[in-house]
Symmetry: D2
Subunit: 105 residues, 4 copies
């Protein structure tokens, strides 16, 4: 977050680092999904499958909460700093709609 006022290059670097971390987490989630598929194909006990589904759901929620935080701290704040209140409100509305879907899903 302390890179917001930095030069474009530094912002890009910070962004790439974040992105690599997200990509690694999503790669793990993909592996977890494959693992659940294998469990079902090998007739694993249903309760054990449910445990894995809860784990992958939590992992996905963590990614979602991280992306949402980034959205608020970057997209929303950038619009607000540029004095574009309408754009900032629109981006907050998108965030609120996404939060609504997350809380209900």
């Amino acid at each position: 977050m302390d890179t917001l006022n930095d030069t474009a290059t530094q912002v890009a670097h910070g962004y790439i680092n974040e992105k690599d971390r997200y990509l690694a987490r999503l790669k793990r989630i993909e592996g977890q999904a494959r693992g659940i598929h294998r469990m079902v194909s090998e007739d694993a006990y249903c309760i054990d499958i449910l445990t894995q589904i809860s784990a992958i759901t939590s992992a996905l929620e963590n990614v979602a909460l991280g992306l949402l935080d980034d959205h608020l701290k970057h997209c929303v704040l950038d619009a607000a700093k540029q004095g574009d209140e309408e754009a900032a409100i629109a981006k907050i509305q998108e965030a609120s709609d996404a939060i609504n879907r997350l809380v209900r899903s």
Copy 2:
């Protein structure tokens, strides 16, 4: 939201109206909680009680999502507009933490 640039008086009026609506919804939620207590005391069927609990939980989530939206559109934007980026980031962080608790609860 269109009152953000209005005079203080109008903002206050808008706020009071919002507040009255929240208070009415919370009064209803209190009544729902009392109703669930009564159902248990009268030995209502457990599945019917569960239906009422889902209803009150949804009502509470709607209030929470509304308050969160207000927080983002007012507290966060106001800080950002005043050029106080640190305060805006702090308020976004509080919002993210609250979203986290909501998604997990």
Copy 3:
């Protein structure tokens, strides 16, 4: 659960004890709802209100999960023990529908 094979009197006693505990928890939840109403009427900070809403939502979910567990261990098992498979399936279906609403609410 160890009272399932006991006499009717003991079952009743066990049930009453459970019921008192549920009633006490629901009374607390009612008080929490009243507290949130008071916070809004006194213009409490929105994030603090959100924290209380998460607390009450968790408390309601705990009651729901307890009632669901009771439903499965009593209503469903009783039907199954009486050899009434159709009734047992019907009660499981009600439970599944309730779980569905809980997970989505």
Copy 4:
């Protein structure tokens, strides 16, 4: 569910059909996870990624609710029908714990 009293062969067939449907759904979920990974790698808009995460989370929950329903209607009922109350209670307890994790995740 109407196959519960059928011959072992028919039960097996019914089970395989269920299994194929679960495997197809999990294959789709794996594809969705891969799609989210691609979206991040291609710098998709964060809100669009959040929408996809809500979709995959809902799909996972549906699989979980289906498996749970199967668990209750088969594992729990089978134990109860065999007069093995202790085993039935143990399986219900596992189900309750899984429901708890699902509701909280």
